[in-house]
Structures are given as C-alpha cells and as structure tokens.
C-alpha cells in the first residue's frame, strides 16, 4: 500500500521543495491541486506517531514557509491516492484560503505558564469518612476549580495586556495542572523583536510565581484552522 502524506498547503507556483526530505526519508514534491501546491511525500503506509516523524513534518513545513505563506496540515492526514487527496483539499478550499489570508507574512509565538508546584490544587489526599465529609470535600474541590479558572483568566489577561499592541491574533489554551495556560500569538514578520520585548515584561512579572516558557517563531499551526 502506498499513499500521500501532506505537510502543508502553499499557493500554487510559489516555489518547489528542494533539499528537504519527508517521512521515511522520502523526497517531498509539490502536488498541484486547484490554486494550491500541496507539499507531499509518497509513503508506504499511514505514518506512525513518533518524535522523529513529528520533527520531520515540522521541518518540511518550515522549508515551505521560507518560500511562501503555507498553511500547515495536521500530522497524519494520509491519503491513499492523489484523487482522494485532491477531493479533501478542494472540499476545504474556502477554509484553506481563509487560513492563508489570516497567516500571510506572520509567524506564531507560544507562551506557556505552569505552576511551580507539581501538586494540583484540586487534589484531596484524604478520603472522606462520611457523607458530610464528602460534601465538604466536594465544596473545596469546586472552590479550588473556580479559583484556578480565575487565576488562568487573570494570567491570560495580564499577558495579553503586554502583547496586545503587537500581536495580530491569539489563542488561549487552558491546561490541566501543573499547566495553567498556553497561549499562541500571531505576529507579523518583522515584529518578532518587538514581540519579544513586549512578552518579556510579562515574563519578568510572572516568573517569581510561575514557570514561564516562551517559544517561537513557529509556523502558524494554531491559526491554520
């Protein structure tokens, strides 16, 4: 069985894959589908999810982004043949074109905020001995959850206050403990340094209480759909 593994969708005729290998070290080529070039490699079977494959997928997307604005495809979208791939791409043509407009000449940065303690505030070590104890514990758990949500909202608001002037769009993910929030910011090419300076203001303020990780620039994965 052979098929196609797509990496990203780029405008047609905006550059061909050169010096980049896909999964299983297969060559990557641009498959024309309507107004798009879909970067694909021929693979013997649907890809396994492993770290090497994830890295390789990302490297191909980065190579495409160096030539033109490309819309990243989620890992694992394997098509058994070119006809099926074309049908799937054309079925989402408007969505892909809208995504391309949204991410054109932009990159993504990520900010992840985590608790310093691994222990969740929602944990309750002692089992209740009776019904009243159970209800008290339930009340404490709900209060902790409300407090956690308020904290997440406050952190997201403080972060956005710092970067609002330079980011074009944002996505906020609420994480399970020990994570708190993971935010993706869409930033115009050329504004990367201004973004780093803006986010540093938040990092300086927050890192005495939380672990804060800033990563990027990434291809705009979080804004592709």
């Amino acid at each position: 069985m052979t098929g196609l593994h797509p990496y990203c969708v780029a405008p047609a005729g905006k550059g061909r894959p050169i010096d980049v290998l896909g999964l299983s070290d297969r060559p990557v080529h641009a498959h024309r589908v309507g107004p798009f070039d879909v970067w694909v490699s021929h693979e013997a079977s649907p890809p396994a999810l492993d770290l090497a494959g994830v890295k390789r997928h990302h490297q191909v997307v980065v190579a495409a982004m160096s030539l033109a604005t490309a819309v990243p495809v989620r890992f694992g979208a394997w098509a058994p043949d070119a006809r099926v791939l074309e049908q799937r791409v054309l079925a989402r043509r408007e969505e892909i074109e809208a995504a391309a407009d949204r991410v054109r000449d932009k990159v993504e940065f990520g900010v992840r905020v985590e608790e310093r303690s691994i222990r969740s505030t929602l944990e309750e070590p002692d089992a209740p001995q009776d019904g009243r104890g159970y209800l008290r514990r339930l009340s404490r758990v709900h209060a902790a959850r409300r407090g956690r949500r308020t904290l997440q909202a406050d952190l997201a608001h403080r972060l956005d206050s710092c970067v609002r002037a330079v980011r074009c769009d944002e996505r906020v993910l609420l994480l399970d403990a020990p994570g708190l929030i993971a935010t993706a910011h869409l930033v115009g090419r050329g504004d990367e340094e201004r973004y780093r300076e803006s986010v540093e203001e938040f990092v300086r303020d927050a890192r005495s209480s939380y672990r804060v990780h800033v990563t990027g620039p990434w291809p705009p994965y979080s804004f592709a759909s």
């Binding site: 990302h58 980065v62 819309v71 989620r74 979208a77 909202a153 944002e170 906020v172 990563t215 592709a224």
Partner: protein, 72 residues
Amino acid sequence: MADDWNDMTLVELVNRVVDRGVLLGGEITISVADIDLLHIDLRVLLTSADRMHRLSKGGVASPGAHPPKVSP
C-alpha cells in the same frame, strides 16, 4: 524556526504538529506510547484572553461549562 530542541520546545512542537493545523481527513489514531515522556495538551479549552476575562468577571465560567477540545 525553533531548532533548539529542549524538552519544553519539544512539548510545544508536538502540541502544534499533532493537535493543530488544517484537517484534511484520514488522520491517524493517536497513540502516545512512543512519546510518553512528553505531555500533550489534548484536553484543553480554546478561547481568547478577552473572553476568559469577561467570563471570569461575570462568574459564569466553570471547568465543565464547555466540552474539552479533543484531538481525533
């Protein structure tokens, strides 16, 4: 772009490549057996800072108020 693969960058990479990007159907069934050293945020809520702040101030947000976004 992000070629310094420390643990946190790998977490961010996997979250992006596996959980985001345009869907073209035929996605694989995700098994985390080979990447169990990494934490993938598969149970997350997608919102915006503004919306979170408004909900928080209004006191109507709760963890169970929205279904989690789960990858295929």
